[in-house]
């Protein structure tokens, strides 16, 4: 669980290109303007690079990456 959290934070930090994502895990990243649809693709690239797991954009809902906590839940289902 702790590993997944770190993984989620690392990926989001890389996709949003800011460590500010660590400050509030319930922050709506779309609303905060930290992520957009192009960055969403980067999430998948980062995930593949770090875990070897290749997911498709259609495997992921916008909701799944809207907050770091949602993304942790998503990873639990897909990776954990």
């Amino acid at each position: 669980m702790e590993n997944l959290k770190e993984l989620a934070l690392d990926i989001m930090e890389a996709a949003c290109e800011t460590d500010e994502v660590r400050e509030d895990l319930d922050l709506d990243l779309f609303e905060a303007g930290l992520i957009d649809s192009l960055a969403a693709v980067v999430v998948l690239v980062e995930l593949e690079e770090r875990t070897g797991i290749k997911l498709q954009p259609t495997d992921m809902e916008r909701e799944d990456i809207s907050t770091v906590n949602h993304f942790i839940d998503f990873l639990e289902k897909k990776v954990g």
């Binding site: 949003c16 290109e17 800011t18 500010e20 400050e23 509030d24 922050l27 905060a32 303007g33 930290l34 957009d36 649809s37 192009l38 960055a39 693709v41 998948l44 498709q56 954009p57 259609t58 992921m60 809902e61 916008r62």
Partner: protein
């Protein structure tokens, strides 16, 4: 090729003209409904001021565009990415009598302006069963404006690019050849926002050819699963978009010729096209040709284009943007407006019937970028640095601080000017962050007027939220860096280079 002439030939046709989700409209209905609305404009408007349309991809928007043209008026399409505040600023310039609002946003109307929502519009379209016939002499003619597109301006106020019938006819007559589809192919992607002129290609070329436009709205763009569900059923034969949108789609393995078996033409414009994307496309869609187009809004959609060949991909240079359109002549000029030596780089200056008459009610900005050539035609200094080799033009970069982000044209000073209007902001600088040779996102550096109690993250978010009320959402910087003061260079100006070195 002129859209109203072509649509008139199809005014009895039952063929589908547009599809949006579960709704569609035939050429016959499109013709009839636009007659009804043109008649409405004639009866209810005192002036020939343009009609403003604030919306996304509703079928009725096309009805209104055609109705405006038939009644001798221009239309101003404003996408839902525009905040109400910016719409209000634009309406002050346009002095429109009618605002068609599909956005759901509340817009403060000037005194002489009436707002019509979608429901009221639908009931207006029900009326007049006899059918009116708008005489052709009422239609927009040669130099009359057809549309005015408001694009980012460096002062923080958008500039309206006026495009006439003459401009459009010149563009479509040239580019229609590149758009040709096999006779049995029918459907064309209609994804590009109407406030961005690449959307003119589906509308003024493919619809005029009698093809069916398949509309993709903003919600579908935000939801890949939903988007693909529609695309799978679409039978699209021609794809028109920015490279950025196609790249997002291409990231999915299932997006290939099995999903779009009829795809023949891929037309990309609005930003730099990379070899990487074209290679992927050639693999995914082996039977489709990829066309790279280049052109500022001021030159009516595209001033040059070419098909990208395997040979160009193998070449060590970047991809070419093609040759200047048939009627145009051009020069590549140095800083003193003298032509550069063959093969040297410089600013692209073009004279053509595609060049706009200038910015709407803005003689100052018009004089800066436009000129009248010796033959009486309009010329435009593009601000784009290019070079030429073997008869093809290659784009290098901008001369100024205008950038393209995901195909959207943005003046960086437009953002900082609007940031500086916020109470908390003392001064700001916005810089692009490049990844793999193109702008990935924007970072704003701000110095505050007073210290915020919030963390820098929360302050940044609050600033973005306020900024969103002033400028389109695609212009909002992803990162806000709060500084105590700006680094200065020896001339006493903000040292942008140092900012980039230290933070980007």
């Amino acid at each position: 090729m002129w859209i109203l002439d072509e649509l008139k030939k199809r005014s009895d046709s039952d063929v589908t003209a547009l599809i949006h989700r579960e709704r569609d409209i035939s050429f016959q209905e499109l013709w009839k409904q636009s007659e009804i609305m043109a008649e409405y404009f004639k009866q209810h408007c005192q002036t020939k001021a343009p009609i403003v349309i604030y919306g996304n991809k509703d079928i009725e928007i096309t009805v209104l565009m055609l109705a405006a043209l038939k009644s001798g008026r221009a239309y101003v399409p404003l996408d839902i990415t525009f905040p109400a505040n910016r719409v209000e600023t634009i309406m002050q310039d346009v002095e429109n009598e009618l605002l068609f609002n599909f956005s759901g946003e509340t817009v403060n109307l000037p005194e002489e302006c009436r707002e019509i929502g979608k429901r009221e519009l639908l009931s207006l379209l029900q009326g007049n069963p006899e059918g009116t016939i708008i005489p052709e002499q009422d239609y927009v003619q040669g130099e009359d404006n057809c549309y005015i597109l408001f694009t980012s301006g460096s002062t923080g106020k958008p500039k309206g690019v006026q495009i006439s019938k003459k401009n459009i006819v010149n563009f479509t007559s040239w580019f229609a050849k590149a758009c040709e589809l096999s006779a049995d192919k029918q459907v064309v992607l209609n994804q590009v926002s109407y406030s961005f002129d690449v959307s003119v290609i589906p509308l003024y070329i493919y619809l005029a050819m009698g093809k069916t436009l398949f509309s993709i709205d903003k919600e579908m763009l935000d939801n890949t699963r939903l988007l693909f569900r529609y695309l799978k059923e679409s039978h699209i034969a021609a794809w028109v978009s920015t490279p950025a949108f196609l790249e997002i789609c291409s990231f999915d393995d299932s997006f290939d010729e099995k999903m779009l078996p009829e795809l023949e033409n891929i037309i990309l414009a609005g930003e730099v096209l990379t070899k990487k994307l074209v290679s992927v496309l050639h693999k995914k869609f082996s039977g489709a040709k990829v066309i790279n187009g280049y052109g500022p809004t001021e030159g009516t959609v595209l001033l040059s284009a070419c098909e990208i060949t395997e040979e160009m991909l193998a070449n060590e240079k970047s991809l070419p943007i093609g040759m200047i359109l048939d009627d145009g002549y051009y020069e590549i000029q140095d800083d003193k407006n003298h032509p550069v030596a063959v093969g040297e780089s410089g600013e692209l200056v073009v004279v053509s019937d595609s060049i706009s008459k200038g910015y709407f009610k803005n003689p100052e900005q018009t004089a800066k970028a436009f000129f009248k050539a010796e033959d009486g035609r309009m010329g435009y200094r593009t601000g784009d640095l290019v070079f030429e080799e073997n008869g093809l033009l290659y784009y290098i970069t901008r001369k100024d601080t205008q950038i393209k982000l995901n195909g959207f044209r943005i003046e960086l000073n437009d953002i900082s000017s609007n940031l500086n209007l916020l109470d908390i902001v003392n001064n700001s600088v916005v810089l692009p962050v490049y990844k793999e040779g193109r702008v990935a996102y924007l970072t704003a550096f701000v110095v505050l007027n007073y210290k915020s109690e919030l963390s820098d993250l929360k302050t940044g978010i609050a600033i973005k939220k306020e900024l969103k009320e002033k400028i389109p959402s695609y212009m909002i910087p992803r990162k806000i860096v709060i500084l105590e003061k700006f680094p200065m260079n020896i001339n006493g100006k903000i040292d942008r280079k140092k900012l980039a070195e230290d933070y980007l």
